[in-house]
Structures are given as C-alpha cells and as structure tokens.
C-alpha cells in the first residue's frame, strides 16, 4: 500500500493541515518509509483475536447526574483567542458551509 501525493493531500485536508508542495514531496517519502515497516503486521496471524476494545478497563464508570460542574480558576476570556459578549468568535462561515458534515 504505497502512499500517493493525493493520499497525503486528502489526509491533510481531513486533518486541517496546510501542506505546501515541497513539504508534500517529503511527507510522501517519509510516510512511505514509515508505513513500509508497518506492512510486516499483515503477515501476523491474528485470527483468534476477538473484537478489541481500546482501553484495558472492562466497564466504564458512571457519574451521578447531580455531580456538579468542575470549576475554572480563570475566566474564559483569559484563554480565548477572540470573545465577545461571552461568545467565542471565529471567522464567519456561511450558515450552510460544511452543513452536511455535521449530524450531532
């Protein structure tokens, strides 16, 4: 599975990373260099491994609905890049931009 320029462009888009042409060439080489070593995993027989879960814990703990919020020692304004009337401000996006990408 060789990584192409288009692959890197695609994942850079997904990851919201701007990658210039010359950096792109390097990344294609680097990623292929790394992924080459990954291909040896394909040879390993993992047939008897049942559906994995990500964490070693067997059951996630539950919190009471009435457990109050964790406090902030600093106002939101102290770390927000841009705030107005308590709202975080970002460049305008047309209300339908990326609309299809979200389905809460």
């Amino acid at each position: 599975m060789a990584v192409t320029h288009d692959d890197v462009r695609h994942v850079a888009e997904l990851a919201r990373l701007a990658v210039d042409a010359e950096r792109l060439d390097h990344l294609v080489v680097e990623l292929n260099g790394i992924l080459r070593h990954m291909d040896e995993l394909a040879k390993v027989n993992t047939a008897d491994i049942e559906k994995h879960v990500a964490t070693p814990i067997d059951s996630t703990p539950l919190r009471s609905d009435s457990s109050g919020p964790l406090q902030l020692a600093l106002p939101r304004e102290s770390f927000a890049p841009a705030m107005r009337d308590g709202l975080f401000i970002v460049p305008r996006l047309a209300s339908h931009e990326d609309g299809g990408e979200r389905t809460p």
């Binding site: 994995h52 964490t55 609905d65 970002v90």
Partner: protein
C-alpha cells in the same frame, strides 16, 4: 413514466435530547437559555488534558427509550469517536456509538389513511450534542455558544420502511408521543430537542432494490419534513423521468422558500474515521439493572388505547383525543372512574376541558377543576340536579373560582326544582292563566303538553325539571 409510477422510499434519523440535569460527560447544567458559555467546564470546552465521565441518568433514559421502541439492548456497547472539524464541536470529534450501539432491532406501529403498518427501528445509540453557531448575530463573524455542547442525545435510526410523506409524518408523531409518555425528553422540534434528517430515494413501482438516496436536513417541524419529502421526491422523479441519475448528496430544507438546496459540503470530506473512544470503557448493562429500567417503563399510548376501549367503551376517535398526551389521559381516566360516566367524561374532556387548556395553555395537572370535581358535576347532571346548560355555566365558574360544583350551583341558583308541590303550584297558575289551552289539553289534545311545559319553564325561569313536569301533567291528564 409519470410520478404516479415512482415509489418514494424514506428512512429517518431522529436525534432526541435526553432530559438530564447535567451533560453526558461532565457535570455542567443542561439548562436552556443561560448566558452564553456559562454552562461550560474543562471537559465540554475540550481543554487540554480534560477527560469524559459518563452520566448514569443519560444511560437510564436512553435504555428506557430503546426498551419502549422494542429494541434489543446489548449488554456491552462501545463509544466511538466521530472525527470532523466544526467550530462548535470542541474536541474535533463527537463521542458517539458506531459498530456496537446501545440497542438494535425495534419498531414503531403507525396508522395512516393507507392503513396500519410497522416501521422498523434499525438502532438506538447514545451520543453528545454539539454547541450552537450563531451566524447572523454579528457582521462578518460567527459566534460560538457551547452551553449545548455535550448535552446527551439518542439517535433513533429507522429502516427505509416509509413509502410516503404521510407515513413519515405518522412515524414522527407516534415516536414523539411515545417519548412524551416515557418522559425522556421535551421532544420539541421548535426548541431543537428533537431533530430529523431524512434519507429519500425513488424507484419504479414494484422494483425491489433501492434507488440512489439523498439526505435532507434542516427541517424545523413535522409538516416541514412532509413538505421536504414531497419536494425532494418530485425533484428525483423529474430527474429520473429525463433519464438522469440521482447524485448522492445532502440537501438543506429552506422552510421559508419551501425548497431544498444542495449543501456546500465538499464531497469526500465525509470520512469520519470512527474508532473506539479510548477515554471510556465499554458500556456494560447488567441484567438486574436492565430489569429495573424495564419495570419503570410506563403504559405506552398503544397499550393505553386498547385498555380504554375495553374499560370505558368509548369510540376510537374519542380514545385518540383523550390519550393525545399522558396528562390528558390520566385526567380523563380520573373523571371517568369517579363519575362512572366514561362517555360523558370523554365529551367533557374533549370539549370544555380541552378548550380551557388551550385557552390558558396550562397542563391538565394545574387545571383548577380537578377530575374529582368534574366527576361530581357530571353526576349532578346525570341525576337531574342541574341542567346540561347550567352545567356548562357551573364549570366555567369552577374554573375561575376553584369552588366545588354543588356550592357553585347553589350560589348561582342553578339547581333544578324537582319537588312536586312547587311544580304543582306553577302548573295551577299556568292553567289559570291559559284556560283555553288547558281545557283542550285535558280534552285530549296531547300535542299541547309541550306548550304548557314551555309556559311553566318560562314561569320558573328555567329551574323546573322538565322530566318531572311532563310526568305531572300526564298524570293529571290521565286523572282528568
């Protein structure tokens, strides 16, 4: 082919906000309408190093809903990350469930003009809501409020079982009623606690495989969903008529223009890279816990309707009305039981009571006339102590003064006079004042009885009990 030869195929994805006090993965309040970003903490702001902890109540409500929809609840379900960038999605991913959801394989029974049918429920899974993006509050910028970010949701995914906008509407209204009965959500599309996305496709009548579907979003009412479906189906039919192909895409419904527009999403950007959420373990539901949740599931609309038909013998139209919401249903049941007059109870609840509720916008629970009071009034009418017309006056006064029916009837002098001596007195006076009619009546001109009764009613200012009055007149005529 004309539109008549195409069949609409619809599947719906419904997102429902669960009625918890705190958010799904943090202790922040879910209160609606607080100042912007007040209900946020390190977790729902996705501050570096913060971690999610699952809200027990959210699991309970999600399970209750899944049970009521006849789903199989899975003893182990897995949370997964759905990765995409959006300014009101703080973590850059939504915690949801993917290949191992909470519950699968349920159904909802609907009735339309086309008849009754089952709509399959593919799955019910838990996830968290995003924040709000305010695009029009300020010029040139978008403002982000994260008070809603992290509020618990369930997503209810239906099978593509609906064949018309009417069936989709029926499915949504039935689903909403079930969720109301369960008290798991406010289920208000206006306030956004219930949101609907539709998958629509068209295929030639009789064809079994599905056509290419499109997704329609952004509807803000059930009728809006119906209109959007008809619009999109017509658009697809037109394309197919011209032999063109349907492009799989997302459309956004514009309720003001009554049209759906293609969203500006770049195709191929829909790669959510789901993987199991490593910050949470599997959600494990133990059998005894599930049993306790099952036990808490209240009587659902369908069950209540068949029971009312059996216990109270009222018509199906009447049943639909008195079970429209759980509050009305229990109010009706109180009146029917305590009056022993289920039919009259239904008429009163559908008429006077419903009108009062609509007028005040209040719920049955805080109506001043309690079921026991209305039952008493109904019995007074049945026993002839007050006329039906007087009953309505009395009800109105009970509503505003909150006094019991007998007291109102007394104070307002609306009790009917049923005692013989009083009635006899009035009859004698009428005979004296109208000798001619009286003679002809007693001579056998029976049709004059109504006239005489009318005179007495007039004289008694409507207080005479017409039933008794007729009996007295007839007995005198018999004697005469």
């Amino acid at each position: 082919m004309s539109a008549a030869e195409w069949e609409m195929v619809v599947g719906l994805e419904v997102h429902v906000q669960l009625k918890t006090r705190s958010k799904a993965f943090c202790g922040c309040s879910t209160d609606f309408g607080s100042a912007p970003n007040i209900n946020t903490c390190p977790i729902c702001l996705a501050l570096p190093g913060a971690l999610p902890v699952l809200n027990e109540k959210a699991v309970e409500l999600a399970a209750r809903a899944a049970i009521a929809l006849g789903c199989k609840l899975h003893p182990v379900s897995i949370f997964a990350r759905k990765n995409y960038f959006y300014p009101d999605l703080p973590k850059g991913y939504q915690i949801s469930q993917f290949d191992q959801p909470l519950a699968t394989g349920g159904s909802v029974d609907i009735v339309t003009a086309a008849g009754a049918k089952k709509v399959g429920v593919t799955r019910v899974h838990m996830e968290e809501d995003a924040g709000k993006s305010l695009h029009d509050k300020y010029p040139a910028v978008t403002a982000i409020d994260l008070n809603r970010a992290g509020v618990p949701l369930i997503e209810i995914v239906s099978e593509p079982d609906m064949r018309s906008a009417a069936e989709a509407g029926a499915y949504l209204r039935t689903l909403k009623q079930i969720l109301q009965y369960l008290a798991v959500s406010d289920v208000s599309m206006e306030e956004g606690s219930l949101r609907v996305d539709a998958n629509v496709s068209a295929r030639p009548m009789g064809q079994s495989e599905l056509g290419t579907k499109t997704e329609v979003k952004n509807m803000n009412s059930f009728s809006g969903v119906e209109r959007a479906l008809d619009f999109e189906f017509a658009r697809q039919c037109a394309l197919l008529e011209r032999g063109e192909r349907i492009v799989q895409q997302t459309l956004l419904w514009d309720s003001t223009r009554n049209e759906a527009r293609v969203s500006r999403t770049k195709e191929g950007s829909h790669d959510y890279r789901y993987f199991p959420e490593p910050d949470l373990g599997p959600l494990v539901l133990h059998a005894e816990w599930l049993a306790s949740i099952k036990a808490e599931v209240p009587e659902l609309p369908a069950g209540k309707k068949s029971r009312f038909a059996e216990e109270y013998g009222i018509s199906s139209e009447e049943i639909d009305q008195v079970t429209s919401d759980p509050g009305i249903a229990s109010y009706y049941e109180g009146v029917a039981r305590q009056s022993g007059e289920p039919k009259a109870a239904a008429n009163w609840v559908m008429g006077e009571v419903q009108a009062a509720l609509n007028a005040t916008g209040s719920s049955p629970d805080d109506l001043r006339v309690r079921p026991v009071d209305l039952a008493q009034l109904i019995k007074m009418i049945r026993d002839g102590l007050v006329s039906h017309a007087a009953g309505k006056k009395i009800f109105a006064i009970m509503l505003e003064k909150g006094k019991p029916a007998p007291q109102v009837a007394m104070e307002e002098g609306l009790l009917q006079v049923g005692d013989d001596s009083a009635l006899a007195g009035w009859i004698d006076e009428v005979i004296a004042e109208h000798p001619d009619e009286a003679r002809r009546y007693f001579a056998g001109e029976k049709k004059l009885q109504g006239v005489l009764v009318g005179f007495v009613m007039k004289k008694s200012a409507g207080k005479a009990d017409p039933k008794k009055l007729n009996q007295l007149l007839m007995s005198r005529a018999g004697a005469g």
